[in-house]
C-alpha cells in the first residue's frame, strides 16, 4: 500500500475494486465501513459480484469480467475531457500525459459501456466523484491482478490516481491489499527471481558485488530466474530437475492443476518443507517438518509495509525445526556453512544489505511496527509513500490499451468462471480446515450462480453439479446466490477435493507472470 490502513478512514472517497474486502481482509474492511458510516466518505465498489461491501456503497458498478482497463481508461477519458484532473500534480510530478491522453481518447463512455456493460452515466458519475474528492483512496486486490492483463490493470489504477493527484497525501493512494501475512516481506526479502532484498536488481553489477561481499561468495548469477508459475511447467520440459518447496502447496493453489501434477511427476528430486503432509508434500522425495508462526521468533511485513514482531509462544511438535535453521543446515552440508544464533542475528544481516530496512531493529519494533522505507536508526519510517517525489523521480503515465481475457465463453463452454476465497477458510485450507468451527461454517466447495443461470442450465440449489473446463472437471454443490452475475459463476479455491484450480487457465500476464485465475470458460453438467 502507498498509504496506511488507518489512513483509509481519512479518505473522502474510497474506490474498491477486485477486493472482496469483508471476507478476505475483514479487519481492514471495518476501516472502510467506518469511513462510510461515521465520516460520510463516499464508497464506490467496482466488482462483478454483489459482494457484502456493496451494501455499504454509494455506488456499485458491475463490470464484465476482465474489462478493467476499459472502465479505468473510461474514467480518465471523462476526467480529461471535463478538465477535472489535477493540473499542478500532472505538470510538476508526472510525465507521459500526452500519450495517456491520446490513448484514452477513444474510451468514450459509450465505447466503455459497449465493452464493460457499465452504463455510460455511471462512468461519468464515478469519474466526477473520484476527481473532485478532496482525498480519494483506491483499494484493490486479486480481482485486479489475476488476469493476463494484471500489470496493465494496476498501471491503469496508478494512472488514474496520478491524474487526479490522489497520491502522497493522507486518505489517498493506490493500495493493494496483500492476501497473505508476509507476501510483502517475502518480496522485500528478495524472494523473487529478479531482485535481491529491497528490490535491488540481480542484473545490477553493483548489487551483485554488494551481496557477494556480504555473503563471502563469488559467481552469483546475474541472469533473471524463473517465477513459480514458470518453474513448474519447465519441469515438464526437463529444464527444472529439482524443486525445494518451503511452506507452499502448489498442487492446490496452482492454475491448471491436472497439468501441474504431470509436471511434478517429471521432477527428479522434490523436497517439501511444511507443517503438514500437504497434497504437494505427498509427492515429495524428502519431507522436512518445520515450525509454525506461533513457534518462532521473527518479523512479518504487513500490507502497509509495517515490519512487525513475531514471537514464540509454544514449542513445536516432535523434531520440527524453524525454517531458516533447516535451510542453513542444508547449505552447510553443501559446503557453504550458514549458521545463526537467532532470528535477530539474521535480521541484523538483513539490515546491512537492505537499505529500506536499515533503520529497523527488534528493539525499535518491540511495541509497534515501523513502515519501511526506514533508512537509518533515527528515521521514523514512512507511512505514506511518494509524498515529495516518486522513486524514479517523476511519475510515469503508461498509455495502456485493452486486451481481452485469454479464454472467453463460447458455445461449448458458455460460462465465465472466477475464483476466490470465503471468510471462514484461507488459501488451500491446510491451516483453517484444522479448526472444526470454521469447517462447520464453510464445510465444502460450491459453485455460486444466479437463479437465471441455474434455470437456464437446469441445476438445482444444494444439489451437486459437475463444472467442466477445457483442462479438467470437479463436482461441487450449487449455491444460487444474489452475489452472482448472469453468465459468470464463482468457486472458492480452498478445497483440495474439489480444487477450482483443476479448471483454471495457466495463461500468464507477460510481465508479472500471474495466472488468469479470475477468468476462464466453463460448462455445467449434472
Amino acid at each position: 500500500m502507498t498509504n496506511t490502513i488507518g489512513d483509509i478512514e481519512t479518505a473522502d472517497m474510497i474506490l474498491v475494486t477486485g477486493s472482496n474486502t469483508t471476507e478476505n481482509h475483514p479487519v481492514l474492511s471495518s476501516f472502510v465501513k467506518r469511513a462510510v458510516k461515521f465520516r460520510s466518505a463516499k464508497l464506490v465498489v467496482v466488482d462483478p459480484r454483489k459482494i457484502k461491501l456493496v451494501e455499504y456503497a454509494d455506488k456499485w458498478i458491475r463490470q464484465a469480467v476482465g474489462t478493467d482497463v476499459v472502465w479505468i481508461n473510461g474514467l480518465m477519458h471523462v476526467i480529461i475531457k471535463e478538465a477535472l484532473f489535477n493540473k499542478t500534480f500532472v505538470n510538476d510530478r508526472t510525465e507521459g500525459f500526452e500519450e495517456l491522453k491520446k490513448t484514452v481518447e477513444k474510451f468514450t463512455p459509450e465505447h466503455v459501456e459497449k465493452i464493460t456493460g457499465i452504463a455510460k452515466e455511471d462512468i461519468i458519475e464515478i469519474a466526477r466523484m473520484y476527481a473532485t474528492a478532496k482525498a480519494a483512496s483506491i483499494l484493490y486486490c486479486m480481482g485486479i491482478t489475476q488476469h493476463i492483463c494484471g500489470t496493465d490493470n494496476v498501471k491503469s489504477l496508478a494512472n488514474l490516481s496520478m491524474l487526479c493527484g490522489h497520491m502522497g497525501k493522507p486518505g489517498t493512494g493506490v493500495n493493494p491489499l496483500r492476501g497473505q501475512n508476509n507476501v510483502q516481506g517475502a518480496c522485500d526479502m528478495g524472494g523473487l527471481p529478479v531482485v535481491f532484498t529491497a528490490y535491488q536488481p540481480v542484473s545490477n553489477p553493483d548489487a551483485v558485488k554488494k551481496m557477494e561481499n556480504a555473503w563471502g561468495v563469488t559467481g552469483i548469477s546475474t541472469s533473471p530466474g524463473l517465477t513459480a508459475t514458470e518453474m513448474i511447467p519447465k519441469a515438464h520440459d526437463g529444464i527444472i530437475k529439482s524443486l525445494y518447496i518451503i511452506g507452499e502447496n502448489p498442487l492446490v493453489s496452482d492454475p491448471d492443476l491436472n497439468h501441474a501434477e504431470k509436471c511434478f511427476e517429471d521432477l527428479e528430486f522434490l523436497v517439501v518443507q511444511d507443517l503438514f503432509l500437504t497434497e504437494t508434500a505427498q509427492k515429495a522425495d524428502v519431507v522436512l517438518p518445520s515450525t509454525c508462526f506461533a513457534e518462532k521468533d521473527g518479523t512479518f511485513s504487513n500490507t502497509e509495509r509495517r515490519v512487525q514482531r513475531v514471537r514464540k509462544a509454544v514449542e513445536g511438535p516432535g523434531d520440527a525445526k524453524i525454517d531458516w535453521a533447516i535451510t542453513c543446515d542444508i547449505a552447510s552440508r553443501m559446503g557453504y556453512p550458514m549458521s545463526y544464533n537467532s532470528s535477530e542475528d539474521i535480521f541484523e544481516e538483513i539490515r546491512i544489505v537492505t537499505p529500506s530496512y536499515a533503520g529497523i531493529t527488534y528493539d525499535r519494533i518491540d511495541k509497534t511496527g515501523i513502515h519501511w522505507p526506514c533508512p537509518s536508526i533515527d528515521h521514523p519510517g514512512t507511512p505514506i509513500l511518494h509524498s515529495a517525489q516518486f522513486t524514479r523521480g517523476k511519475g510515469l503515465f503508461h498509455a495502456i490499451d485493452f486486451i481481452p481475457p485469454a479464454e472467453e465463453p463460447d458455445n461449448e463452454y458458455p460460462l465465465n468462471l472466477t475464483t476466490g476465497r470465503v471468510i471462514y477458510q484461507y488459501h488451500t485450507g491446510t491451516m483453517t480446515r484444522k479448526t472444526e468451527g470454521l469447517n462447520e461454517r464453510a464445510p465444502e466447495s460450491f459453485v455460486e450462480i444466479t437463479q437465471k443461470d441455474a434455470d437456464k442450465y437446469n441445476v438445482k440449489n444444494g444439489k451437486k453439479v459437475r463444472v467442466i473446463s477445457r483442462r479438467g472437471e470437479i463436482e461441487v454443490i450449487v449455491q444460487i446466490s444474489p452475489k452472482a452475475v448472469d453468465g459468470t459463476v464463482f468457486i472458492p479455491f480452498h478445497y483440495a477435493e474439489a480444487a477450482a484450480n483443476r479448471l483454471t487457465n495457466g495463461r500468464l500476464d507477460p510481465i508479472a507472470k500471474i495466472p488468469e485465475y479470475k477468468v476462464c470458460a466453463v460448462k455445467l453438467a449434472s
Partner: protein
C-alpha cells in the same frame, strides 16, 4: 480568563486537549476511573452509570465518559456521593441477573453449602465462566458490594450454544450495550441490537434468531468487549485466564498483520485476543484470527523428516534426511547446472526465513530461480 485548558481532578491540576472527555483526561493521567459500558472508538452514552464523577457547582453527578472537560472544572472521582452512587449501580447490576459469584452473600456460613446452592440456583448448572475475569465482579470487590437474589425472574432464555464459537447467556447480561457498540461502531456488522430501544430486556441478533442464522460473521469483537459472563468463547469458557501466559505476536492469516495475544497453557494456545490500542487493528480481529488456530496443535502436524522409499514415505532422522537433500541437490547442480534447481519460498514465513531461502538459492545453488506464492 485564567490559564487555558486546565482541569482539576482530585485536587491535581491537569492540562487537557479541547474536546477531550473527563474520562479521557483521567485515563491519560492514570487516574483509575472505573467503566463498564465504555468502548474506545465508539460514541459514549453514559449508559451504565459507573464512571460518574462529582463536578463542583453542579447538582447532579455526571458520566465522565460523556462529559467534556472544561477549563477550571473541579472534579472528584471518588467522593462520597460518587461512591454511594456506584455502590447502588453495582448492586442493581448484581441483582438484575444470574450473578452468582462469591460476591453474593451466602445464606449459610458454609462455603460448600453456598457452592451447592449456587449450582442449584443456576439454570445452566455451572458457575459463571467469567469468574475472576469479570469487570462487574472486580467492581463489587472494589466497592465491597454484595448482590441479592433478584426479586423478579431474570432473563431465562436458554444459553445459545448452537454456533461453534460464541456462547450467549442473557441471564448474565447487564444490558450495558458494549457488545452492540462493538458490532455496530467498530466492526460495523450491525448483527446485534437491544430488543427494544426504550425498555430493553435483552440483546438480540436480527429479529431474535441464533447468531449462526444472523448477519454475524463471528469476529468475536463482542466477546472481547463484554465486561461480564454474557458472551464467552465456547472452546475457552472454562479456561482460567490467570493460569495462562499471554504472548504478543502478529497474526499469520491475511496481510493486515493484526497484533494478537496468544494465550498459552501447557504449551497449547487456549485462545486469542486482539491487542488493544495498537495499530493496525486496535484490538479488532476476524473469525480466522480469533478462532482459527487449532492447526498449531493438530495431531496431523509433521513431527519427523520423511524419506520416500519404494513409493512410500517413511520416518527418518534429521541427519539422514538432510544429507540426502544436500547430496542430491549437489549432484543435480553438478550434472545439470544451477538453473536446473528451483526454490519456492513462502509468503507465510518470516522475513528471516525468506531471507535465508533466497540467500541459499543465490549464494549456495547460484541460481535466481527463487520465487513464492505472491501471485496465487
Amino acid at each position: 480568563m485564567g490559564e487555558q485548558n486546565k482541569i482539576i481532578i482530585n485536587n491535581n491540576e491537569l492540562s487537557f486537549k479541547s474536546g477531550e472527555t473527563i474520562l479521557e483526561v483521567a485515563k491519560r493521567y492514570n487516574i483509575d476511573l472505573p467503566t463498564l459500558c465504555h468502548l474506545k472508538g465508539s460514541v459514549p452514552t453514559g449508559r451504565c452509570g459507573i464512571c460518574v464523577v462529582e463536578i463542583q457547582g453542579m447538582d447532579n453527578l455526571r458520566a465522565a465518559c460523556a462529559t467534556k472537560a472544561e477549563n477550571s472544572m473541579i472534579v472528584f472521582t471518588e467522593s462520597k456521593a460518587v461512591v454511594d452512587t456506584r455502590k447502588k449501580v453495582i448492586k442493581e447490576f448484581l441483582s438484575m441477573g444470574n450473578h452468582n459469584c462469591a460476591v453474593s452473600r451466602p445464606s449459610g456460613n458454609d462455603w460448600t453449602h453456598f457452592q451447592m446452592k449456587v449450582q442449584a440456583d443456576d439454570n445452566s448448572a455451572e458457575l459463571c465462566p467469567a469468574w475472576g475475569d469479570c469487570r462487574l465482579q472486580d467492581l463489587a470487590y472494589r466497592y465491597q458490594v454484595t448482590g441479592e437474589k433478584p426479586a423478579a425472574p431474570y432473563q431465562t432464555d436458554p444459553m445459545e450454544i448452537v454456533n461453534p464459537f460464541i456462547i450467549r447467556d442473557s441471564s448474565r447480561c447487564i444490558l450495558c450495550g458494549k457488545c452492540v457498540k462493538a458490532c455496530r461502531e467498530i466492526q460495523v456488522n450491525d448483527a446485534i441490537d437491544f430488543d427494544n430501544a426504550d425498555a430493553p430486556k435483552k440483546i438480540i441478533a436480527g429479529d431474535n434468531k441464533p447468531l449462526k442464522d444472523s448477519e454475524c460473521v463471528f469476529c468475536g469483537e463482542c466477546i472481547q468487549a463484554c465486561p461480564v459472563g454474557a458472551l464467552v468463547e465456547k472452546d475457552a469458557r472454562f479456561d482460567r485466564g490467570w493460569q495462562e501466559k499471554k504472548i504478543k505476536t502478529t497474526c499469520t492469516y491475511c496481510g493486515v498483520g493484526c497484533q494478537i495475544y496468544l494465550h498459552v497453557k501447557d504449551n497449547i494456545i487456549t485462545r486469542v485476543t486482539g491487542v488493544e490500542g495498537v495499530a493496525p487493528n486496535y484490538g479488532s480481529l476476524c473469525v480466522k484470527g480469533r478462532f482459527g488456530f487449532n492447526f498449531v496443535s493438530s495431531p496431523e502436524r509433521l513431527t519427523k523428516p520423511l524419506i520416500k522409499e519404494n513409493g512410500k514415505l517413511r520416518e527418518a532422522e534429521w541427519d539422514e534426511a538432510l544429507d540426502l537433500v544436500a547430496s542430491k541437490l549437489s549432484q543435480i547442480k553438478k550434472d545439470h547446472g544451477p538453473d536446473s534447481i528451483g526454490v519456492l519460498t513462502s509468503a507465510r514465513m518470516s522475513n528471516e526465513d525468506n531471507y535465508i531461502a533466497q540467500k541459499f538459492a543465490r549464494a549456495v545453488l547460484k541460481t535466481n530461480n527463487i520465487d513464492h506464492c505472491a501471485r496465487l
